[in-house]
């Protein structure tokens, strides 16, 4: 039989039709000992205040929907055990994002940045079907696999001090995903992406705080991708000064 403990949840509320600025509501929740923060939020919505708005989906840390700040730190609420927190838990929306309502943040800004880095295989010319599939060795897969594990939870954006101050900065997840394609042996678009990495929202805006990697729930290590992209961008830039550009690698 699980122990039940009453915990206080101080939750940000914001209704753009009623509230000038975000405010807080406090809820007392009888929590089971094995609950995650998300379970408590679901209890609040089901039993105490059905108007509470937040995103969640898979409950098992693969969809990236339930990212929020819990006691000031960005985390996936579905894998944040309440046993890690005290008797009062503060739940606020992800930092650095505009807030649409309660704990729901505006995601379109991220989607634009992600699309801007062209996160897909770019080929000068597609192989004809008769030529067979693209072959990739396990070693070639290892080169980029880590960066492909991103679930777009945006905890990294919430943790990054540069994201909050430089609106144009492409940001950790988008850079990691773009760089993932630079490392993919099937891709021929590295020069094109490196030019994007050197443009507005430049990867060089990153100041290596490393907070993105500290908070990433999937061990993507976006700081590694960003700083590797800086070096890659420098090499590409230097090469472009001396070599004729064919437009593709």
């Amino acid at each position: 039989m699980s122990d039940v403990q009453i915990k206080k949840f101080v939750v940000t509320r914001f209704d753009p039709d009623k509230d000038e600025v975000p405010r807080s509501d406090t809820f007392e929740v009888p929590c089971q000992s094995d609950w995650m923060v998300l379970d408590a939020l679901n209890f609040i919505k089901d039993q105490l205040d059905g108007s509470l708005s937040y995103r969640w989906s898979c409950r098992m840390a693969v969809c990236g929907s339930c990212g929020m700040n819990v006691d000031g730190a960005p985390t996936l609420t579905c894998k944040s055990p309440l046993s890690s927190y005290g008797d009062t838990v503060e739940v606020t929306p992800l930092s650095n994002f505009p807030v649409i309502r309660d704990l729901v943040v505006e995601l379109d800004g991220f989607m634009e940045k992600l699309k801007a880095v062209k996160p897909w295989i770019i080929r000068a010319k597609e192989k004809a079907v008769e030529e067979g599939p693209y072959r990739q060795s396990p070693e070639e897969l290892e080169d980029f696999k880590q960066f492909s594990l991103c679930i777009n939870c945006m905890l990294c954006y919430a943790a990054c001090p540069v994201v909050g101050n430089e609106p144009d900065f492409i940001g950790p997840a988008a850079i990691a995903l773009g760089y993932r394609y630079n490392l993919d042996s099937r891709d021929e678009g590295a020069s094109e992406r490196n030019a994007i990495f050197r443009g507005e929202g430049s990867v060089y805006s990153c100041s290596f705080a490393n907070e993105c990697s500290e908070v990433c729930p999937e061990n993507v290590d976006p700081a590694a991708a960003i700083n590797q992209a800086k070096l890659s961008g420098l090499v590409d830039w230097a090469a472009s000064l001396v070599l004729p550009r064919g437009g593709k690698d």
């Binding site: 000031g72 994002f97 807030v99 309502r101 634009e112 001090p161 994201v163 909050g164 490393n210 700083n227």
Partner: protein, 146 residues
Amino acid sequence: MARAAHPQAMQPKKPGTTRTAPPKMPDGFPGKGRYRTYVAFETTGLIYLLMGFIILRAIWQLGAGEAGWNGVMDAYRNPIMIGFHVLALVGVIFVGVRFFWLFPKAQPPRIGPVRPPPAAILKGMLYSVWIGTTLVMTWVLAGGAF
């Protein structure tokens, strides 16, 4: 209470139809936990900038002649200068420890056909070069050779 972020932070180019609450900076920024370490790391930029000009002045005076150089050495004996140099030494060591710890992750998975050494070995190499060079420079500058 978190500081305000840039009002345009993470805003889409075409705003939605609903009014949004403005973004806020990360909660611990700038003075708590890892953010404090990070801000201290950036603040060492002031130490480095000053050291560059301090050494510039010293070498300029070295080129000007004995009187100029001796003036620099006299100035370095001032307790304020000693205090600054001690602070600078602490700052430089802090930068080295943090940066060389993070450096391996900035290496690409391969350079041509060659993979960089594993992170632990690369860190060991960096720290060894740092310590070795420091020992050699200290030995030479302090009169151990030449």
